[in-house]
Symmetry: C2
Subunit: 418 residues, 2 copies
Amino acid sequence: MSVTITPNLDLMLNRARVASRQVARCDRVAALQAIADALLTHRVEILAGNARDVESERRRGTPASLVDRLALSESRLEGISEAVHQVALLPDPLHRILDGWQTEAGLSVRKVTVPFGVIGMIYESRPNVTVDAAVLALKAGSAAVLRGSSNALESNRVIVRIMREALQSVDVPADAVQLIDSPDRSLVTALLAARGRVDLVIPRGGSSLINHVVETAKVPVIETGVGNCHVFVDRSADLAKAHSIAINAKVQRPGVCNAAETLLVHEQVATEFLPGTIEVLHEHGVEVRGCELTRDLVPGVAPADEADWAEEYLDLKLAVKVVASLEEAIEHITRYGTMHSEAIVTEDRKSAVRFQEGVDAAAVFVNASTRFTDGFEFGFGAEIGISTQKLHARGPMGLSEIVTYKYLIDGDGQIRGA
Amino acid sequence: MSVTITPNLDLMLNRARVASRQVARCDRVAALQAIADALLTHRVEILAGNARDVESERRRGTPASLVDRLALSESRLEGISEAVHQVALLPDPLHRILDGWQTEAGLSVRKVTVPFGVIGMIYESRPNVTVDAAVLALKAGSAAVLRGSSNALESNRVIVRIMREALQSVDVPADAVQLIDSPDRSLVTALLAARGRVDLVIPRGGSSLINHVVETAKVPVIETGVGNCHVFVDRSADLAKAHSIAINAKVQRPGVCNAAETLLVHEQVATEFLPGTIEVLHEHGVEVRGCELTRDLVPGVAPADEADWAEEYLDLKLAVKVVASLEEAIEHITRYGTMHSEAIVTEDRKSAVRFQEGVDAAAVFVNASTRFTDGFEFGFGAEIGISTQKLHARGPMGLSEIVTYKYLIDGDGQIRGA
């Protein structure tokens, strides 16, 4: 299990391991409250660091919408701090007895939640993820090793320093939160190779980041977030519901993973449904790309090709396809979907059941928008990502998904017979 | 997600995927019973195929104990068939509602167990694993792609052909069970790279096989089996219990992963405990390698070096170390253990609690032999391996550990607000 890693990362991981043992035993509520308070106390420093990132991006000519995602403000910081307070007060995910029984040999078995230990987060999102990831890992009893995007480096450095100081102020080891603050890519590779040193890595970001992590990692990984999600309007759909669900799933927040990217419509309702819905999509600024039948029904729709069915636009774009049956819809989703969130709109009980059974995705909706796949909407109180793999966790991951368990077995001298 | 894989494996994985969809919906009890019966009906063919493997190994000069592990007999086949009947009748791990609630938006959420889909098994054990793995995957609703060891190839070919015929006889697609029957290693590499095509790979075998799989795989893997397990005799131990647990954990079946490899003894009881216990170990043919203190107490014990603390002997060998405290024992286990099974023998409640909390392993025993880490002993009714990783499953894995889940969400037209 020996791993050759760069000296710096090696040191970080050693420190993270030592710190992780203390995190599980410390007052994690106090630790998180100290972080929440410090983020406000030190707002001037944080905003100054963030301003340097924003300025560099502006100079580099980054589009304003992307710069805006990077930018913090006093009110955003207040929201981040408030969210930390909320996580602090969530039920403790550790020490929960998931199951328990007595074996034939008379052993008492308890299956109890325990921390992973060291959790690595690799992300390219806004600086609030730096706080989110650290705080959720801590609440789950683990140490966090963070690797954010280089364009948020100044923000992340200040935020991590302030979180570490806050931890120290309540006698929690600062090394429970560490930032890989070099843009050197080989450090990421080394982190992903550190078997036995990192217990779990969660990548958050675009598909190229996630693919890179999954292809490279030798440590356990949970794939997150890539969502090529579909809304299927069945022939038995309530078309008013179908209309509002299709619009909501596409336009309410087009840049996120649970937004719809393709609309599938049963041919028996296409004529009635599509013209009005596409009109409203156009009014919302959505670029619609359709199959031939769609284009016959609605003039002025651009043609969709093979690439459109596979693409996660993350934008005001929607592919539309008319299908001959529920089974064709399921086949299409099986072929192009990313096992994230899929929805059917139907008033037919049989169609609903068949769709939920036949579609292999983390979340399969009947008569609701795909946008509900979300830790907060699910009532988890927090979310560290949305898993699109089948191992360990599927769908929104809250605190319960970033702990593991062990078996505690109590006997009275039992030995095993032949 | 496109993967360049060899044409044959590509075809196999396509067929496995198609078959997997039918497995989840077919009568899996009938499928398993057909397999159980066919293994007996075709015993002559199976034993003939097995005899060819055994003969080649003999000619190659393989030690008799290893040849014996490969050899099937009429009575072994009956045992294998009986085990399949037992798995057939275990409770169905699919369609179980693990959790369910209503969200604030009024959505009804059900978290329901579903199959993985395609499960790959890479193993080097006896031909009975071929049956075990196929049958457990089928019972869990998945298709199995099997890769056994080359020295069992003839046996595996016959067994897999017979299982496939049995499936067909009850209208279950034969491709639900497939064997990679070429010794070409690149097929294993391709299998491990087939993201989106293979949902889970479980390696079973020695540490070099498992390391190879974990280092190579881009598909989700559950690491199994490497067990450097310890028994720690606390100063408060009932020394009679400690004696029988130490002997049992080492000698009852030394070649398996849950056998003890190192005995740790608190210095306050070492003088009383070690001489008698080591004497009995010697009587069982165990080669004891000790630390200096052990060697002072028991003349004739060979010296243990650093490599001994780390080694999984899987043999009648035991390392023995005297430690100054419970904390030193925990430190030693943290450093050298493989997170499999660890035991303390103690009558002190505080020591028991501290050991169970401080030791990070799948199964932490108080006053019982490490040999109890086993799906059957745990009451799972079956076992596909013992996980030593923290993601997804730890410890013995039964049917519940080789299914995944999805969220089924039912609404009435809900869309998401700002």
